[in-house]
Every structure is written in structure tokens, then in C-alpha cells.
Symmetry: none
Amino acid sequence: MVTVLVVDHEPQAVHELRDALIGCGHDVLVAEDGETALDIASSGKPDVVVLDPAMPDTDPVELIADLRERTPVPVIVLSERPEPTYKVSALDAGADDYVTKPFDLEELLARLRAFVRRANAEVARDPVVIAEAFTVDLGAKRVYRKGVEVHLTPNEWAVLEVLVRNSGRLVSHHRLLREVWGPDRVGELQYLRVYLAQLRRKLEDDPSRPRHLITEPGLGHRFEL
Amino acid sequence: MVTVLVVDHEPQAVHELRDALIGCGHDVLVAEDGETALDIASSGKPDVVVLDPAMPDTDPVELIADLRERTPVPVIVLSERPEPTYKVSALDAGADDYVTKPFDLEELLARLRAFVRRANAEVARDPVVIAEAFTVDLGAKRVYRKGVEVHLTPNEWAVLEVLVRNSGRLVSHHRLLREVWGPDRVGELQYLRVYLAQLRRKLEDDPSRPRHLITEPGLGHRFEL
DNA sequence: CGTGGATCGTAAGTGACCCGGAAGGTGACG
DNA sequence: CGTCACCTTCCGGGTCACTTACGATCCACG
């Protein structure tokens, strides 16, 4: 299963591309502006990003550079502009490929496959994370503590999963809320306090002095091995 | 230094490409048939292969597959044939990119850079900046000094991040204030003095004679490795 | 050489905000 | 009707951002 993030401001183009990709058995995420694209991409879910640089309020070259800074995910630029100088600046900003519209869908898919093949050759992801106090099986969606399974509610699991998939990295309040509760609740900081407290109570040896589920005041949270 | 293996049967095309690449400071190896190409590529020297599939006695798709079997080096196909089916079969055989002749030299060079960059990026995933007195992990948003983590407040981190991401370059007061505090507070120079002082106290060996966090009087600040 | 102004560095104080903990209300579901 | 998960509210304690004040340094100019 390949997860593709489509970044495009044109709803019709998004739908065409989306349907085509889903039809080929891919999983598709959509971002209609640069901000959302950065959030989703740095969540680590997409295996590849397909980007249409024609977006209002967003400098595409800057967006590519921002993406590249946060995540190693391959970026394919899909543009109407065939000028070589444009291609060069996009590629130098950190894009991995540049396809000119109108494009052949089969070709785009082949290029996608080429990148995914390359990414898979690099690392086989280990879906089981073993911390000092507990073990998380991301594939089976289960958590064990001292050998016995701990039951987590759906929200608790969602929070833990985001943190563990970004092990060691800081996850902002904003991003955590967006990924678990959706973009409408990004202001509800209290949710995070409640669920982090519940996770600590269930998983940490000393919930009042957490070893793995760390809060960085004012910034976000971090899962520490 | 990037070493490029040019695989082409046409001597004139080889020379043009060769001169252009050398002119840009690259090192160039040449193979005029598939056999030689496989030999050179599996020697491990080339960082990237540029392949013209128009060769007698050699099936280009098979050649690509053979290359891919022996070495992970990226392969860029450079062909006169723009038909998508051709591109698809080349990409699926293991090619990493497909450029149609006539091609723009700048574009080809940019695509080369993209592959080389990616190859190098595999080693250094998270951007980590190591200064003499301390280490900054931009991905994890953490700072270490003499091996132990130093806690930074959100504002302290924001200032440090902007400076480190522009390592060596001068960042104006105006820009620093805008990026950390927003466009409404670009006049509050005192903020910068306070937070720079705090950062120096936490990170520099001799805060009163800073080695890394430099003030350029009247202009702005600079992070020096 | 002396003086004044501008810029910089340092040190506190204070109010606002953020965090953790606890607990109650609500709706879904069996 | 009981249970479970989710959301919401309240509160005490601690941290941090911003402010003010003052001394140091540098430079221009008389």
C-alpha cells in the first residue's frame, strides 16, 4: 500500500488525480494549501508527495524547501510550466522529479513506483517499538506493559500512535490535535492534557514524572524511547 | 565531486554531454556499450548513470534491469522516444528518471543534483548542527551542551532555530523579530537583547565573549559554527 | 581629549499563561 | 440500567514572556 499526498488548490484536478490513484490501489491524502501540506507531510504518513505549484498565497519553491527540511519524503512536482528555469529552481529547492502537464497517468504512476521502490530499498520499517516501560505494536494496534496487554481507547491510541511514529521528534500541539481530532479542534489544548495524563497513568512507571511521554511546555509533546 | 557514467553509442552525443558535465565540475566516465556499462557501474565508482537506450545489440530495458541488479546507483534515461509506454517500461525496469531529447542541459544537471542530494541525504536524515560548544538537533527541537540536554523556552528555541537555519549568514533584527514574534513587534529590539543573552548564558562557554551567537551592531545577528 | 547619544548586555520583577490533576456531565451502546 | 469513552470545567502551582532599570561600550563630534 502506497500513501500519496496530493497538494493542489484546484478541486477538480484533485478529484481526477485522487480517483486515478485510488483506482490503482493507492491511498490518497489531500492538502489544498501549503500549511496543511506541511502538517500532513511531517506526520510521516505519505510515502510520496505530488505537488501542483499553482497555489495562491504560497511560493512553491519555498514550500518545497520547507517540506524537504522536515521530512525526507520524495516530492514530485506536477506543473503546467515547461520552462527549464522553472524546473531547475524546483529541483534545486529539493523536488525529486518534475512532470509537465498534460501528463500521462501511466507515466506518473511509473514514476511513483520508481520512488517507492527506492524508498523501500532503503529501509524496512519496524512496526514494533520497545520502550523501557512498555511496548507498542503499531501493526497490531496493541500496547503491552510488563508483558500484559493494556487496553487503550481509540483516542488514546491515536495520540500514542502519532507520537510513536515520530519517535524522538517533537510533535506540535497543533499537529497532534489536527491528526487526532481533525482541523476543527486545533485549539482544544485541554484534550491533549487529558489524554496525555491518561496515557501516562496507563503506561508510565511514575505518571507524575513521565519517562517516555514528555511535554515540552509551549511547544508540543515528544515520545522518548 | 560527482562522478557520472555516460552510456551512449553515439560518439558525438557522448562528447557534447561529456564536455558539458566536465564544464560543471563533474567527473565523467564513458561506456559505449551495455557490457562496458555494467562493468563500470558495478565497480561502484559512478554516483549516477546517464543512459541513452539507442544502442545496437542491446535491449535497453534489459540493460537497466541488469544495472539495477548489481548496484543501487540511480539511472537517468535520456531518449528520443517520448511515448509514455516506453517511459513506463524503462521506469519499471528500474530506471529512476526519464528525460526526452532534445533536453535542456540545465534541467538535466538539476535532475542530477536532485539524485546526488537524495543519495547524500540518506546518511544524514535529521538536520543536526554541531557547533564547538553545543549541538542543535533541528528535527527533535533539542539542544545539547557537553552531552547533556539544555532546556530552552519556546521563544529561546524559535530565535535559535532561525539563526541556525541561516548558519553563517547575517539575520537582520527586523527579520528575526518578524519570524519569532510576528510582524507587529518588529520594533522591539530589546526582546532580541534579552533572548540572545539568555541563549548565550545557556549555550556559550563564555557568555560575555560569545563564540557562536554573534551580534553585528546595528545590523542583526549571526550564528557561527 | 572630553562629552553626549545610541546601541548593547545584564539583572530583576510581575502578571499572564500553561500544565497537571481531579471530577462531573453527556451520550452511545449493550 | 450500567458501563465506557469523550468532552468540559475548575483549581493550584509553576514557568515564561514581557517590562523596566541600569551599567558598559562604541562612535561622532566639538
